[in-house]
């Protein structure tokens, strides 16, 4: 662009800030984030490479760590308490490729389509499937939020905090993170919170486990005690905890809001893989911790069940054996797990509703401009928090309902994922390869069978 001066054209300096001002606010903030990524790509040297890697991580780690939520932590603790160091440690290692293969597809979908999962289902497959997916997701997210608040209140009770105060602290913290931070800072703050989920890794060393026994589980992988109904129940619970429908929606929307483009697919895959490794490591550490300290104590024989090995019993056993500090660290981990999952679930609900109704949908939006976007997530959180405070509410029944809804939703969520990622019109050259489809269909068949059986076993306890 130039201006005529004495017959000559004088170049006006290019004003990047003026150009940014012309963009809508959510795109402007994303553009600034992407400019920083582009600047790192232009720089040479090891420091620039490290900073680029750090800039591109986020949704993959967040989704996997948030999957180790309060319910997940309790499930792993019960698994180790009931079955010790055995079948479930190698199983958790197998969950790394399983979770990775499912979740990395959302990275590609987001990078290529620049749209969330709910939006793609609604627009490609119509309002029936769109409404079904959205309704199921919102109900499941809201009920899962109840379990997160149960974890937060239980964890805080270890430090003598009353449930009402714990719930208020939880609401204030989660709302502040979502409403006051724009995407980049929201993601960084969430990653810091997610980092504390790794508290379970040093915690395992308090138990002085026999690592040779842990290693042996890989060489002698078998089901100790045979295929009992309890074993099937715990197996299904662990698989159900590892892959949940909300994860697909969360990661795809998060990648879109982050600004992931096809050039970042490799980085997004690495982010997802690192997240899956963290998820499995934390799960294994919890299983080893309770497998070493709680397994074969207290409840044995016919009385063994997930209800007899409740979290209060597990923590009191740990406290008796190695003191109160590890129990306090465990409680901190449980609070952190509830908070990081609540942050992810709240955002997931807001993104999905915004995508379905074509509302503005970005954490880059200031509250007043994006109130339509923020309100569904905040309402779901407030409802969940209120439910936890109702005296004598059947929390066990609620937990069953969450799992049942997830089990109904799982096949649909996976089918739409598979359809979208194989849609050449949408994905172009980024469609699944034959090998990827073969792996995913195998995983789908196992997951759908397991989640259906799990859902049914919860309402028909004597099915197996």
């Amino acid at each position: 662009m130039g201006a005529a001066l004495n017959g000559e054209t004088v170049e006006q300096p290019f004003d990047i800030n003026k150009k940014l001002e012309e963009l809508p606010v959510e795109i402007r903030l994303r553009a600034i984030d992407r400019l920083k990524v582009a600047r790192l790509r232009h720089r040479k040297g090891l420091l620039a490479r490290i900073l680029l890697v750090l800039a591109l991580i986020g949704p993959g780690i967040l989704v996997m760590v948030a999957d180790n939520d309060a319910g997940g932590v309790i499930t792993y603790a019960q698994t180790g308490s009931i079955f010790g160091l055995g079948f479930f440690i190698p199983l958790m290692v197998l969950m790394v490729p399983t979770a990775y293969l499912v979740q990395e597809m959302t990275v590609r979908l987001a990078a290529v389509t620049r749209r969330g999962h709910a939006e793609m289902i609604w627009k490609r497959y119509g309002p029936f499937w769109g409404a079904f997916s959205l309704g199921d997701l919102v109900i499941a997210n809201s009920l899962t939020l109840v379990t997160e608040f149960i974890g937060i209140t239980f964890g805080m009770s270890i430090f003598g905090v009353k449930p009402l105060i714990a719930v208020v602290i939880g609401i204030a913290f989660i709302s502040t993170v979502m409403l006051t931070l724009r995407y980049h800072k929201w993601e960084r703050a969430s990653l810091i919170i997610a980092f504390f989920n790794m508290i379970f890794i040093p915690l395992v060393f308090f138990a002085h486990p026999d690592w040779s026994l842990v290693a042996k589980t890989f060489l002698t992988w078998h089901v100790s005690g045979g295929l009992s109904s309890l074993f099937i129940y715990v197996l299904l619970a662990n698989i159900g905890t590892t892959i949940a429908p909300w994860m697909l929606f969360f990661q795809q929307s998060s990648e879109v809001d982050k600004g992931t483009v096809p050039e970042d697919i490799g980085a997004g895959k690495r982010d997802t893989f690192v997240g899956a490794c963290i998820m499995a490591t934390v799960a294994i550490c919890i299983i080893v911790l309770t497998g070493t300290l709680v397994f074969s104590t207290g409840h044995v024989g016919s009385s063994t069940s997930t209800t007899s090995y409740n979290i209060a019993f597990i923590l009191s056993t740990i406290s008796k054996k190695i003191g109160t500090l590890p129990v306090e660290l465990f409680a901190l981990g449980l609070i952190d797990a509830g908070i990081i999952a609540a942050i992810a679930l709240t955002a997931s609900t807001s993104w999905a509703v915004g995508e379905a109704f074509n509302w503005p949908k970005s954490i880059n939006l200031p509250f007043l401009e994006g109130r339509k976007f923020y309100i569904p997530g905040i309402i779901s959180m407030l409802v969940a928090a209120a439910i936890v405070l109702i005296p004598n509410i059947p929390l066990g029944f609620l937990n069953i309902t969450v799992q049942v809804i997830a089990s109904i939703f799982m096949p649909a969520a996976l089918l739409f994922l598979l359809l979208l990622v194989n849609d050449k019109e949408v994905m172009g050259k980024h469609v699944n390869t034959k090998w990827e489809n073969a792996s995913i269909i195998t995983i789908m068949v196992v997951l759908v069978t397991m989640s259906s059986l799990y859902g049914l076993s919860l309402v028909f306890p004597h099915l197996f």
Binding site: I16, P24, R28, G259
Partner: protein, 69 residues
């Protein structure tokens, strides 16, 4: 929020800026329509299976919950 232009000297002019916006897909996608997918072949079969699965699961779960209550 203003940024320091010197940090982004790789964007020198309008053309660089337009290329940047295009490469980074920085546009309002809500204004771009998405075409409905053609549902036929095995996809149609999968959708029928999915509907049957949902109906059966819902029926079994209602029965199960009635037993629990």
């Amino acid at each position: 929020m203003a940024i320091d232009e010197n940090d982004f000297s790789f964007i020198k002019n309008e053309k660089d800026w337009d290329n940047f916006l295009k490469r980074e897909k920085l546009k309002d996608y809500s204004k771009i329509p998405v075409k409905r997918a053609h549902v036929n072949g095995w996809v149609k079969f999968a959708f029928v299976f999915l509907r049957i699965y949902i109906v059966i699961m819902l029926a079994l779960i209602v029965l199960g919950f009635l037993n629990i209550i």
